[in-house]
């Protein structure tokens, strides 16, 4: 009896340790189960278009017509894929130089002002909800485009502009971190040789930090690719490949957002939407792997 009491006294320590270990492990297990079930469920639904409904993969990826309720029903997802890529890449093309300039400004030109004002500004941009971006896009950018350019104003250009503001914080933050992490000696050596600030930035800073800058750009594209509502609000959502930047288009996310609620689970039209989701998810993985690869190449 006395012995067992003593043993119990010594135990709380171990019990505590055990509780901590099990608790944290359970949390990690939850995380792992979650991601695997996301992949499993999205893939099983998305693949059933091909295995259950016998839609040809190539037809889906290269087809130009999306008529899920037609006779015969056509599931050509190329317009959506095209819309997603064009809006997100255009957005990155706009945001990358801006983000790079903002980063150089914060690190090289006016560090004090940058840290005090520009950085909070950029963090605020990151915090604004995407529906608000969509709303502003719809009520400012679209009418502006409608007045200035031919067409309705909605389309890939409007989507890309809205997205570029949304991904600017991602690109800027990563570029700033990369520039700030650059060893001082590198820049000082360049200045000592008589190079100007721009020559140093252009010839030394930019090439050395290029993998990190690319990482930021890819992360930005990934974010733009997955963004749903802001784009959906300004792009017009017509399922065809537009002939101009100011003509209504559609993306993978906007197609899913708009149609998922209108189709019954298990029907071919619904499964085809899950295939779009699967493409979206696979692209996310591709982006993650590109980022990993770029990070591995980083010289810093």
């Amino acid at each position: 009896m006395a012995q067992s009491l003593e043993r119990q006294k010594a135990k709380p320590h171990l019990v505590e340790e055990w509780v901590g270990k099990v608790y944290t492990l359970l949390c990690i297990a939850f995380l792992i189960i979650t991601i695997f079930s996301i992949v499993y469920f999205v893939a099983s639904k998305g693949l059933s278009t091909f295995f259950v409904n016998h839609v040809n993969v190539i037809d889906l990826l290269s087809g130009l017509k999306w008529v899920p309720e037609g006779e015969p029903a056509l599931f050509g997802a190329l317009p959506f894929i095209f819309g997603s890529f064009s809006t997100s890449i255009l957005a990155a093309l706009i945001a990358a130089p801006l983000g790079f300039c903002a980063a150089v400004f914060m690190v090289e030109i006016a560090p004090k002002f940058g840290r005090r004002y520009l950085q909070p500004v950029i963090e605020l941009l990151a915090g604004i909800p995407s529906v608000v971006y969509g709303f502003v896009g719809l009520s400012v950018i679209v009418p502006f485009f409608r007045n200035v350019f031919p067409g309705q104003g909605i389309g890939i250009a409007a989507g890309a502009i809205v997205l570029s503001v949304m991904i600017l914080p991602t690109i800027t933050t990563i570029a700033t971190d990369a520039l700030a992490a650059l060893p001082r000696g590198l820049k000082e050596g360049s200045f000592a040789l008589g190079a100007t600030r721009w020559q140093t930035i252009y010839r030394i800073v930019l090439p050395t930090t290029l993998p990190a800058l690319m990482t930021g750009i890819v992360l930005g594209i990934a974010r733009a690719f997955g963004e749903a509502l802001a784009v959906q609000m300004v792009i017009g959502n017509a399922p065809h490949i537009p002939r101009s930047l100011f003509e209504s288009a559609s993306t993978l996310t906007s197609a899913i957002t708009l149609s998922m609620g209108n189709t019954a689970m298990g029907t071919i039209a619904n499964n085809a939407l899950w295939s779009l989701a699967l493409i979206l998810m696979l692209m996310t993985f591709v982006f993650v792997f590109i980022v990993r690869w770029l990070e591995g190449r980083s010289k810093l």
């Binding site: 995380l31 400004f105 915090g127 709303f135 009520s139 020559q199 957002t257 998922m260």
Partner: protein
């Protein structure tokens, strides 16, 4: 001489771009506030929305957003803290840990609409939670977890080694060391991050379209029994949040003043985000001063 000219041009371009970014944000915030503030009134914030008539408010949506935020954080914080503690303190340096890190990274880049679809399939249909606040909170948990894990890990990694070692040397268990010595020190970082994550929950909409639903039942704000179907506190009722409402009235709003409602609701959303943002900064600085005794 030419190099100097190029330097001057480049510098001015960079300064101009920085100024442009500040202007864009100022314009953005100014536009939202100027257009929206005029429409915000006590009545707008508390009354129910109208579908076809003019003069609808955002009362239930605002309540739903706050309620959903609380529910989500109640689920996210314990799991995120636990997983973050594991990654920072328990995870051995091996392949499996690297794999878990990859998983966290992948999870953080999964688009929120995919999380929403997953919620629709698994939470709403398979588990039968239906379109409900609870489904929405779980989906947002998935969406927020990687962020929470990273915040916790960052906070714990910032704790000085000596403090951890001193506690262990006194014979405290590892778990006790983590919870009573390390977590309090890491708290400012974790809290700041958590508030920013909460701000994100408040504005999130894509994941909620398919989980919390796009409509609210008529809420009876006198009925506080959480099991009654019209009670605002019932977590198993469908709930349209503010962000979802903005999206909905912009895409299919029939009320004649839909644009004003969207402007007003956007202003409310942005003001909330600003409050979260400044609140997090202020709290982080305050706690840092308090805990580290730096004046």
């Amino acid at each position: 001489m030419r190099a100097k000219t190029a330097d001057k041009i480049a510098t001015s371009v960079i300064i101009a771009v920085a100024a442009l970014i500040v202007l864009v944000l100022a314009g953005l915030l100014g536009y939202i506030l100027v257009r929206g503030l005029g429409h915000i009134s006590f009545d707008f914030l508390t009354s129910a929305p109208e579908t076809i008539r003019k003069g609808g408010g955002i009362g239930p949506q605002l309540f739903n957003s706050v309620f959903l935020l609380v529910l989500t954080m109640l689920i996210t914080i314990p799991i995120g803290l636990g997983a973050g503690i594991y990654m920072s303190e328990y995870a051995p340096a091996n392949r499996i840990t690297n794999f878990i890190r990859l998983i966290v990274e992948v999870l953080s880049s999964v688009p929120s609409i995919i999380v929403g679809l997953f919620g629709l399939l698994v939470l709403v249909n398979l588990f039968g939670f239906g379109f409900s606040l609870f489904s929405g909170a779980l989906a947002l948990t998935v969406f927020n977890l990687p962020l929470m894990v990273r915040i916790t890990e960052q906070g714990l990694k910032g704790v000085p080694r000596e403090q951890k070692e001193a506690s262990l040397a006194l014979g405290l268990s590892k778990w006790k060391t983590i919870t009573s010595v390390m977590l309090p020190i890491a708290l400012p970082v974790i809290l700041t991050g958590t508030i920013l994550a909460a701000g994100r929950v408040f504005g999130e909409a894509a994941a909620l379209l398919f989980t919390a639903g796009m409509s609210s039942p008529r809420l009876d704000f006198t009925d506080w029994n959480p099991f009654s179907p019209f009670s605002p506190l019932n977590p198993f009722r469908p709930a349209e949040t503010l962000a979802v409402h903005i999206w909905k009235i912009n895409s299919e709003g029939l009320a004649p003043d839909a644009a004003e409602i969207a402007a007003g609701a956007s202003a409310v959303l942005v003001i909330t985000v600003l409050i979260f943002n400044f609140g997090a900064r202020w709290l982080g600085r305050y706690m840092h001063r308090k805990f580290t005794a730096i004046k």
